[in-house]
């Protein structure tokens, strides 16, 4: 099984989007918060529902762009 996770910096925004090897995704504007979440797999990783939002994003930024 893959053990690779990725963090994409969504172009044109300040938002970082993390994707765990389990398929769960989450967004944050702070790399430490996102890496904490990715490193905590499987805690808080839900691949069925909408993606977790780890910190409030500014108005007009979609969490699941």
């Amino acid at each position: 099984m893959s053990t690779t996770f990725t963090v994409d910096w969504l172009p044109g925004s300040d938002v970082l989007r993390g994707r765990c090897h389990c398929g769960a995704t989450s967004s944050a504007q702070d790399p430490a918060t996102l890496l904490d979440w990715l490193g905590a797999h499987p805690d808080g990783h839900d691949t069925s529902g909408p993606e977790a939002l780890l910190a409030p994003l500014p108005a007009g930024v979609a969490g699941d762009a």
């Binding site: 690779t4 996770f5 963090v7 910096w9």
Partner: protein, 368 residues
Amino acid sequence: MSSPVTFVRNQWYVAAYGREVTSEVLGRTVCGEAIALFRTGSGTVAALADRCVHRRFPLSAAPSQVVGDTVVCGYHGFTYDGTGTCVAVPGQSRVPRTARVTAYPVVEQDSFVWVFIGDPALADATRIPRAPWLADEAWTTVSGMEPLAARWGLLVDNLLDLSHETYLHGGYIGTPEVAETPITTEVDEEARIVRVSRHMADAACPPFYANSTGITGRITRWQDIEYFPPCLYTLHSRVAPVGVLPPAEGPDDGAFHVEVVYAITPSTATSTYDFWAVARDFARDDEEVSRFLHDSNRTVVLQDVTALDLLETVVAAEPAGTQELSINIDTGALAARRMIAAMTAGMTAATDAAVDATAGAAAGAAVR
């Protein structure tokens, strides 16, 4: 005082370039361990603890010398073979059975001499990360090493976040687009690789590439980092006239490729060997280009050395856990710090979440 510096043990480290290891003994300190490196008469590299078992004289210090496949201590003549066994002592025929110095597992590969720091039983040469371009005839390489009066983690931070090129190396390798362009970070916890990519579609061409490739206009510039903690860092750099992308298949002939390799070798807690190499697949026989790339990259490395030596004096004077502030550009460096913390704890975060609970208090401050 500042956070304690830790070394990751049971890992391979670059101790020297192969060309540096000759029949003159070379002394290097790796992860706090003093090592004497020499090439035996039969051509193989030996790496021994740099302290004679007799009265502790360094085997790398004159007048110690290599004789055939052995090194003779310059103080009273204890003579060691490449395995560290003492084969002769002065004045008597019986060599004490305990007369031996530690021999380090050593592998010569990709122009480097790698030594294993830790339990020799765990030394698996197949786990040494590769930098094949440096010893490949299809590439032309320039290289060097600059000593750093700074802890090794500062060089990891530096190399994992290339946005600093725009500010610290402006006019050499930095242009505004480097700091402006978002990065993608990929962490393979099992293979222990951190990848950071920055693809600039339309960027100014810095002198480093303009003068070596001859491109006069704007460029498409890709930086793809692969870091194999703790020691090996590779940057796959692709430079092409703006808009020129790799073809769907076949060789990427329209672009210039440069493989920039660093070996980050901790020496003492507050000093580091900064090995650097630049390999290219163009103008391969042009010695002027070689000289230019050598001098330019060395200048850039020395700009980092100046900055990191200064930074070391700052962090050394600050209390442990002094707050930093991380932003998006730091994602790769933070991921690397976390992987290193997990390796230091002897396991990857992926295989045992308990590492956070047990080492968290200590590592938590360091990895943010």
